[in-house]
Symmetry: D2
Subunit: 148 residues, 4 copies
Amino acid sequence: MGALAAGIARETLAAEKYFPVKADQSLFETINRVKDPANKTPLEKSHGPVITAPKTVKAGEPFAVEVSVGEVVHSMGPAHWIEFIELNIGNEPAARVDFQPRGYASPKATFTVVLTKESAPSGKVTLIAHQRCNLHGYWEGSLDVTVT
Amino acid sequence: MGALAAGIARETLAAEKYFPVKADQSLFETINRVKDPANKTPLEKSHGPVITAPKTVKAGEPFAVEVSVGEVVHSMGPAHWIEFIELNIGNEPAARVDFQPRGYASPKATFTVVLTKESAPSGKVTLIAHQRCNLHGYWEGSLDVTVT
Amino acid sequence: MGALAAGIARETLAAEKYFPVKADQSLFETINRVKDPANKTPLEKSHGPVITAPKTVKAGEPFAVEVSVGEVVHSMGPAHWIEFIELNIGNEPAARVDFQPRGYASPKATFTVVLTKESAPSGKVTLIAHQRCNLHGYWEGSLDVTVT
Amino acid sequence: MGALAAGIARETLAAEKYFPVKADQSLFETINRVKDPANKTPLEKSHGPVITAPKTVKAGEPFAVEVSVGEVVHSMGPAHWIEFIELNIGNEPAARVDFQPRGYASPKATFTVVLTKESAPSGKVTLIAHQRCNLHGYWEGSLDVTVT
């Protein structure tokens, strides 16, 4: 089976990688997502990006989009830190915040987003946030917004 | 006089640069700042970063820092746009937001900042925001915060 | 089976996302890699990051790491472009180049890397390059380097 | 005199800023440039971006642009490091490399640049490189290229 075979291939690849720091390599092999929002694991609670935005917005009018890593904000320090938060409007990049390991800024930020009718041909867009943790890999959170 | 001579030298250098787009080269020769906050020019109103933060904060406790380019938020489009907003704690980089010329995000963002006693040896730090406009160069805004 | 179920779940999620531009959503659901380097598809040829670096390097001595997206360098333009190339030393971020959709720079860059003995506890490290294409998602290429 | 008065105003502003680390604040008040390329100071030697590129290039054909901070490559470490190298085609941003304070990558990189006739309306463009050092501020190097 395609997906199964690919899963096995990925684990093999992961096993062959050399990291400077001991980390769970499988977290670096894919884009991680919270599996069950009603029952988050501790790792998902601290790493899954949480997007807060209005359910419905007006085309051409700016609105605030807060992205937090995670529902408990991730700590920051040279040994374990969040490198960036990336905000995409579906497939299109919108903005990205880069953080410093020293930790003057915590991984929570608010963007000012403006959507046009053209950016939501179906009447909806999916806000997609990514973050990267040096020990726990890539994570994604998403939220649909209706554009009127 | 040193400063005067340097001023002349800078203008000479500026005159010798070749830009793809017609722009006021002197705005690219230095870090621009609002000269008189009580009497901003239209260019200063749309380009000077405006920082909003508490006057006094507690060491170790996160607080919000909003940075807006400028007091009227700058428009975004492929021909004229804001590339980034950079937030520094005095000399130390804290975070930076990169924007896209397509303009899904407007150049206004809120960071979550945490200051320690060590980051404010004098009891104060200066928050320094930079932005870069493709037609109007580098701009700086700053705000002092007391850390208790 | 876990991997198979996860594959199905991912496709369902993908189907529910709203993108401004028509794109193959499955490419945005995971980190894409070249499946068979000896038989690359056209998409893999133009999107898989290709890393060129020495097989063996000396600790403490700088060496060049070229990353190209892909073996035929990807074109750049506002409608279809490469947002960034990210270079990691295993799990640790090393450097990232951000590009502009206007395309003054092509998605090929050379970094100057220095590895210490501590960065290669096993004697090897994996250089991992990521890129993001606005129409074809996240891609990874990797290369092992021996550190003596 | 305008330039002289501005010089004095800038020094006053600088004196009023609060930095976490003891640093020469005047280096953060402007964009620093090498004053006399034939007689660089030690600070200029280690901080002035050095651009290496062909004198003449053909429109539409990619060429390599190396940027090094500085002629002796700047060291990297959490206490003193180079945050980024930014490459502009005159007033237009082309690409930027972000570095990590841990120092897996040194501040020297090669970009692949493509210039069109439109990007050089006068037949020449100025490549402008910026870098930021957490202790020694913003620096610029530039180089003119003829486009045929």
